[in-house]
């Protein structure tokens, strides 16, 4: 398949990290007073963040949504700063202003994140425009869900990016649900990739639980963008193992549907592929898991040991000087 082993290891690590990071969060959320507000996880979707981000270079920009822990971790964001922000601590990457929903990590070119569904796409057009304007050899990746494809902003953004041939990769993470609405209840078409035709851009549907397929599709899209061929739409078919958020009863998701998708676990899938290809051993994997576990523990400890911001700090950071 031509993907360097080190890239595969990178994906493996980031998927393990995302999985453990979020499983730990899920447990912490059940302990009173630790994590406040909503907690929205991507468990089961890790291959999307890992596959896409492994295909990017430092200069590329990513823009996520309300479900972006896995994107940011795959991009290399510091787990301590993320965990502390999710806890609402002063040491969080956004000083507690954001919490989990709109984590901004400029250090890894995630300049902002929005929890307004569809809100990321027009901004990604602007980010891609700037890369084009500055003649940078870089692309912008915008992550959004299947539900976001019903927003007007989806349309305006793909239309403008296509018209101006901007280096934007629109990554639709189709996890079959928009909150409690199943895909069939909220979308009139079997696949969202077909919408690319309406803008004259390339659209692909890929197995979103196959990190290597996601990686390959992203590489293709990135190459097209850098050749000046404009934006692409990649639909990653995946599934939301948990509820929309951690306080979601999830009764509208059929148990057998969940079970079937859990059998398609993207983390296990990559692990098996690498073992089959002899690119990792069980021992390597065990070591990776342990290293990740330690990293997550350290992040939790860092977050728990960090202070909350002082109330008046709320007044900071509205204005740039």
């Amino acid at each position: 398949m031509g993907i360097p082993t080190q890239k595969k290891h990178e994906m493996m690590r980031s998927m393990l990290l995302a999985r453990q990071f979020e499983e730990r969060l899920s447990g912490l959320y059940r302990q009173p007073g630790k994590i406040h507000g909503m907690l929205i996880l991507a468990t089961g979707q890790e291959a999307v963040g890992a596959g896409v981000c492994a295909a990017l270079t430092e200069a590329d920009v990513i823009l996520g949504n309300h479900r972006s822990h896995h994107h940011l971790l795959a991009r290399g964001a510091d787990p301590n700063a993320l965990m502390a922000e999710i806890f609402g601590k002063r040491t969080g990457c956004n000083k507690g202003k954001s919490g989990t929903l709109h984590l901004a990590v400029p250090e890894v070119n995630a300049l902002c994140t929005t929890t307004v569904v569809g809100g990321g796409l027009p901004i990604a057009v602007g980010l891609g425009f700037a890369q084009h304007y500055d003649k940078r050899d870089a692309v912008t990746v915008c992550f959004f869900g299947d539900g976001a494809c019903a927003e007007g902003s989806f349309h305006e953004s793909l239309n403008l990016a296509a018209l101006w041939r901007l280096p934007v990769i629109f990554v639709c993470e189709n996890n079959r649900y928009a909150a409690a609405q199943s895909y069939a209840e909220h979308s009139p078409v079997p696949s969202l990739a077909v919408r690319a035709d309406g803008y004259g851009m390339v659209g692909e549907s890929v197995d979103g639980n196959d990190a290597l397929a996601v990686f390959a599709a992203t590489e293709r899209a990135r190459a097209r963008a850098l050749r000046g061929e404009g934006p692409s739409l990649i639909e990653c078919l995946t599934y939301r193992w948990g509820g929309h958020g951690e306080s979601d009863h999830q009764t509208y998701q059929p148990a057998d549907e969940i079970a079937a998708w859990k059998r398609k676990c993207p983390v296990e899938r990559l692990a098996q592929a690498l073992i089959a290809a002899g690119e990792v051993s069980e021992d390597d994997l065990a070591r990776m898991r342990d290293a990740v576990a330690a990293r997550v523990e350290a992040a939790v400890r860092f977050a728990e040991d960090s202070p909350y911001p002082a109330p008046e700090e709320a007044l900071d950071d509205v204005w740039a000087e």
Binding site: H36, G37, M38, G88, K89, G92, G96, K97, S98, G99, L101, H102, T114, T115, V116, V117, G118, G119, G147, A148, A150, E151, G152, A178, A179, A180, Q181, E185, H186, S187, G243, H244, G245, S247, D248, H249, T251, Y252, Y308, P309, A310, P311, E312, E313, A314, L315, V318
Partner: protein
């Protein structure tokens, strides 16, 4: 009397009006099948009762949801649509402000747009400024829109029933914290006309004007002040449009002092309108400067101590009153 949260009271109002008038239908994101199965939620169980023909779960399309209401209302239905969180009103605002509010005028009074937009609002649930942003001042500035902001389950029920029966577009803003604050609601059917303030507490020394969740905060403050012998009169306009200026002005004529409380950001908030009305109509009665107790001019932060800092509390109201006595 039954004891209900505001969501339950709204649920009753919706049930009663949908039963009374089959032209009433609901649409919104997750109003039928939702991620919460709590009976405290406004639309809980309505899908089961009225079916998918009248309780429409929609895609994530705020403009289309609002446009659905505008068109359906023009054709004679009585839409009640939900915008999940107040900041997403922006996405529906062209349909509501440029269409629902103006198309009747543009028709020379020929077409009517009887619709209700339910906006879930308020800070305090740790979701940050893209979920918590009180924008009642926007809609209260738009001729052609009525604006309701109930402070109690009982008011919410009677006002929502009036809103659904009103032949004009009504923006009905619900502070979600009130869903979880049970209070008595009359058993028998009733409707509360739009545009009538209610004096939630009589007093002679100072007039407090507050709406929505801030009525409870102001009431606490009034009780603390009473302990010091200061009798605050608390006026809840209940509707910002039409605004019952008479009741507010009359109260200030009596007390000579005014403190307005809202959760929305201070600058440009609707307290300014109330200040202006009082300054125009009760100037000679004023004995002291205005005080506003409002959210600071920042977005609503997510971290608990920061969010608590944002939300006005009774201590701030008490301090404001003391400062003008």
């Amino acid at each position: 009397m039954q004891t209900l949260g505001m969501g339950q009271a709204i649920n009753q109002a919706l049930r009663e009006e949908m039963t009374r008038d089959e032209r009433v239908f609901l649409a919104g994101e997750g109003i039928g099948v939702g991620i919460h199965d709590s009976p405290l939620m406004p639309t809980a169980g309505l899908l089961a009762t009225f079916g998918p023909g009248r309780v429409k779960d929609t895609p994530v399309s705020e403009a289309a949801i609002a446009g659905l209401a505008v068109g359906a209302a023009a054709a004679g239905l009585r839409p009640v649509v939900e915008v999940m969180f107040n900041p997403f009103f922006t996405l529906a605002s062209d349909m509501i402000v440029n269409h629902a509010a103006k198309l009747r005028y543009l028709s020379g009074g020929k077409t009517a747009f009887p619709l209700v937009v339910r906006l879930k609002s308020g800070a305090g649930f740790g979701a940050g400024c893209q979920h918590s942003h009180n924008l009642e001042a926007w809609v209260a500035h738009c001729p052609g829109l009525k604006v309701v902001m109930p402070s109690s389950p009982a008011d919410a029920k009677g006002l929502l029933k009036a809103a659904i029966r009103d032949p004009n577009p009504v923006i009905f803003i619900e502070d979600m914290a009130l869903y979880f604050a049970p209070a008595p609601v009359p058993e028998e059917e009733y409707v509360i006309p739009l545009g009538q303030a209610e004096i939630k507490r009589p007093g002679r020394d100072v007039t407090l004007v507050a709406w929505s969740k801030m009525v409870g905060v102001a009431l606490q403050a009034a009780e603390q002040l009473a302990a010091e012998g200061i009798e605050a009169e608390l006026v809840d306009p209940r509707c910002l449009g039409p605004l019952d200026t008479a009741t507010i002005v009359e109260s200030v004529r009596k007390t000579g002092r005014l403190v307005v409380v809202h959760e929305a950001n201070r600058t440009g908030g609707f307290a300014g309108e109330i200040a202006a009305v009082v300054m125009e109509q009760a100037f000679s009665a004023l004995k002291a400067p205005l005080r506003r107790v409002a959210g600071p001019d920042i977005p609503v932060p997510a971290s608990p101590p920061l969010e608590r800092f944002y939300i006005p509390d009774s201590a701030r109201v008490v301090a404001a009153v003391r400062s003008i006595l």
